[in-house]
Amino acid sequence: MRVVVTGMGAVTGFGYGVQALSDGVFGRKSSVRKNTLFAESNGEPSPVAFLENVPPEVVSRADHFIRTAVKEAVDQANLPLPLPALEVCVASLHGNVDVWCQARVGGRKGSPDLWELGADLWPQLAERFNVTTISTACTASGLATGRCLDYLRSGVASVGIVAATEGMTPFLLEGFKSLRSLAVGNCRPFDANRDGLVLGEGAGVLVLETLEHAEARGAVPLAELAGYGFSSDGTANFTSPDPAGRGASRALTEAMRDAGLSGLPDSINTHGTGTKLNDRMECVALRRVFGDDVGNVPITSCKPAIGHTFGAAGALELVCSVLSMQRNEVPAILTLEEPDPQLGKLDFVYGRSRLQRQDTIISMNSAFGGTNSAVVLRRLSP
């Protein structure tokens, strides 16, 4: 059973909508700037990618983002509503933590609850639906995408929605500041002078359908979701990935097997956070899977443009990958100036984007605790 993407929605630091994301990422812009959303504990505003024009009545940024992006994706897919059945896979690291924090201060029950993300949307879309919320840190939306793919392949539904969201909150930002994992300026994936990650917020939504269902109603697929894989490092450290890249390479191998991809992909959208350890691990993992041939695969990262959006990262990077396939253009790693020679000979795309046809793209993510995901996208149209 083949599964295709028929709708996409996005909210990023560039603003509302996939078009704003496309204009930013492929226009060589960054939405990273000094935080003006709230005062930080040390009085020093951090560089973050955030949305400026959120309506003041919004109580939860993550809930607001998911609603906006779901509407955009469902509108693009032009689904015949209400659907008889819908599988929803939500992803977030902290859910509505801003509401929870306000409730703690106010001494009252907050609404929506911590994990009620877009909760009243789903009954409007389908007569029968099932919602699963994955909160596996930075791999949450990669895993949610994989779950949705398996559900549709199994036949329990013909349509699914991957809805991933993360809001910029003091809780998230102060948390990562306390971990001392933030870059001084913007993040610089794979650069010799990289010094950490930069946080972002937003939502990424994908409407998935079986190809049969999409064709029967005359929908135009944007790309095929061809396969995915995930794995755990199972090594002895919470915050550092397996330096040998074994877990990430297992996820990659599984995703390629699942997609029936035996050769090289046409590009790879890496997790590419800009931390010393993650970037090194990813390069090791890529070499484990592709050997020296990995030097022939263009490698990119969207995080200097939209920041690290945690629970939403995988879904937003898949949206970027679909756009990349449609535009025949691999976006540049915006801040990369001097590729780290210790990472070996790899084809990082930097300086300017690469105009190139891409029939298959792999998007990969890794997370705290050693989880790894990889998703394979394949072109459907000639």
């Binding site: 909160s135 199994s154 102060e174 500041k177 919470f238 074994r246």
Partner: protein, 227 residues
Amino acid sequence: MIGQLVDTVHIVDAPENIDTAYAAEVDWSQGYKLNPDSRLALVGVGRILKAVGNIFGAGGAERDRVALVLGSDFGSLCSYESFFNGLTRKVAQPLPYTHALPSTPTAALSIFHELHGPTLTVSGEAEVGVSAVRVAQMLLAAGRCDKVIVGCWHAPSATTAKAGLADTAQLLLLLLEQSNGERRSALQPGDLAMWSGGRDGRTCVEVLNEWVAGHRQQFEAPIRMAS
């Protein structure tokens, strides 16, 4: 319904007793820093593995075929509270923040037991344990794993007290196995776990326990309770 139900472990105990059990049953030098949620999960998984024996194959060769799916509704909130209380004093502490990531217990289990297969954390409301079982069943049906340890946990906190939920630490785990090792298609809605009830003052573990009691005969093999 997808999966053979091999065994279950059900824990309902005072939080301080979980700490005692953790000290007695889990031998992990790194583990002294873990939050209560992770200690509870480590005790529970240790007990189910003790009950069923080695599920990782000779020499651990099948570690990548064992999955772990844990759900919680108010999971890790004692760590949320700890980190947030520090924030209100303008003291952001890294360890409480690390513990406030919902996936901390699954990460601890993955590291301690050297799991290489899929490890997922599911968050939600009262139904989250049943959702976790559904995720686990789909992993089996899709051929992503051969065995899966699945369940949910409840750790008491100020937030759960405000919600009127139990002040005991609770955990319910199931060990499910794939019946034939092949990817299954054309599933029917009844092949996967579903829950349509409300919370009614119950924890996610209490809801899952009720669901298991009502559905144990529908799994592919009869249930065997661990002590």
